[in-house]
Amino acid sequence: MSSEFIIQAREVSHTYAGGITALQGVTLGIRRNEFLAFVGANGSGKTTLVKHFNGLLKPTRGSLFVNGIDTRKTTVSTLSRTVGFCFQNPDHQIFCYSVWDETLFGLWQQRIPQAEAEERAAQALQKVGLYELRTRHPRELSRGQRQRLATASLLAMETQVLVLDEPTTGQDFNSRRQIMGLAAELHEKGRTIVMVTHDMSLVAEYATRVVAMKGGRVLLDATPRELFQQEDILTATGLKLPPALALARGLKSAGLNATPLTLNELYDAIVAALPEPAKLTDSISYVENRVKPCPR
């Protein structure tokens, strides 16, 4: 049980009550401060696997350790102090009468002293921009705001690991940027982020490591760039290249040799590959190009 890994899975298998085996002997370790994405088609086992990280599911074979503790020997309640889960639908958890109470709820459950709890709640709400609305009833908030509320109540728990389950499904671009921006910020501050998604652009833009799954098994465990270079894995998992990479691939024969993970990187690569790179009508430097806001 190495302390190198904050989460360690050893030959984890999981068979549901109905007889379906969703996981078949998965072994992997997650280190602190990784930004890890699990990808794969529906039914590949990725959601099943991440639900083991906070004990919602226990392995039917094999074992899983969080911070060295065997998840089979402890409760979800205890594990929820280390691993926080952000679910897709905020309405599955919101039930309090005020935004403030909702944010505090998880902290009450953990028996955090009131003063500290209130401070954490205030900070979390400010971070998501809901502090002014703290006395309102959650039903008065829009769907996007409720999503932020659910995120705030999760942030307040200040867990080392944050699991995001399909964070951008059905979201418009703004919400997507907000949520992922928050995740990126937390990652910069040292937290470990685990993300389950089909959106390959997310993987390209944010993840430091990606695990591709199929049929309950791990097909590939590598960096995003390495994944995108393996077309057979992508096809096998039913995933598509993010646009920046698709464009880059099409331009390979034109002499572009790059694996850009974002449009920004592609832009840089193209400008660098231009036959006469200084052919700019304005004298704007390449560095400034990077600074100009552009949706990633």
Binding site: G144, L263, L280
Partner: protein, 289 residues
């Protein structure tokens, strides 16, 4: 028979008890056989717009409506919801709440049965719908046991069997994985190309649908702020970015390159293929074309 499948003139709608109108002075026209793409931030009023198109507003949902909506020649204020349901159908995001039956067959039969059509007619329509959605072999399966993409196809089929002229799809690929998304979008293309249906599609996944559209409408806070062909709409990056929207990747990239003085001429690329073609000329031509 009118040339336009959908005609909306000066549509304004305020829900009863709301402090502000949800839709303001909407004007849009969709020609028969077109695929129109509707984009906009969440909360812009898309659902309200659909409800105006299929008659739920003003027949069943209360509020103040101004302006006029005609769908397939029928004025929505003058016809009942069942009558309009045979002209325009809506497929929603979540297959769960649209599917009631224990078999695909029953699901496809639901609409026609409600209309009281003769039994043989109902059976014919089931076959036709199953053929359109390409699930002929799964007629007796339980929808709950199908994949997400197949379930959405069943939802489309259950609307199709009402034989509407216009099909509205509200973020149909939201809850689906990439494989399911592909299936549903292929279906949409087929409905339009093979069966001539007029389509109104709302989607956030711009890259996947932009190429399909003949027309694009951008809805923000109840108003159409931009409309036109994909080239026209996606050629306005400033407007889009301000609304928190993005153009397809190829277009975004082209804008950036242009903004920094790299001259690129020709039509704005919407698909990856078009983007590659344009950029290839840039890189290999030796000079900007």
């Amino acid at each position: 028979m009118s040339e336009n499948a959908v005609e909306v003139q000066d549509l304004t709608f305020q829900y009863m008890g709301a402090s502000q109108p949800t839709l303001r002075e909407i004007n849009l026209t969709i020609r028969r056989g077109e695929i129109a793409l509707l984009i906009g931030p969440t909360g812009a009023g898309k659902s309200t717009l659909y409800h105006c198109l299929n008659g739920l507003i003003p027949n069943l949902i209360r509020g103040r409506m101004g302006g006029r909506v005609r769908v397939a020649g029928l004025d929505t204020s003058e016809h009942t919801v069942p009558a309009l349901a045979q002209k325009v159908g809506i497929v929603f995001q979540d297959p769960e709440i649209q599917i009631f039956s224990l078999s695909v067959r029953d699901e496809l039969a639901f609409g026609p049965e409600n209309l009281g059509l003769a039994k043989q007619e109902v059976l014919n329509r089931i076959q036709a719908a199953a053929h359109a959605i390409q699930l002929q072999d799964l007629l007796d399966r339980e929808p709950a046991r199908l994949s997400g993409g197949q379930q959405q196809s069943v939802a489309v089929g259950s609307v199709w069997s009402m034989l509407p002229e216009v099909v509205i799809l509200d973020e149909p690929t939201s809850n689906l994985d990439p494989e399911g998304s592909v299936r549903v979008l292929e279906l949409v293309k087929r409905l339009n190309q093979e069966y001539g249906k007029t389509i109104l599609l709302a989607e956030h996944k711009i890259d996947e649908v932009a190429a399909l559209a003949d027309q694009v409408f951008v809805l923000d806070r109840g108003q159409i702020v931009l409309q036109g062909t994909p080239q026209q709409v996606f050629g306005e990056p400033a407007v889009l970015h301000e609304l928190g929207l993005v153009a397809p990747a190829a277009a975004e990239l082209t804008h950036r390159l242009k903004a920094y003085g790299i001259p690129l001429e020709g039509e704005l690329p919407i698909t990856i293929e078009d983007g590659v073609k344009l950029l290839r000329r840039l890189l290999t031509g030796g000079q900007p074309v």
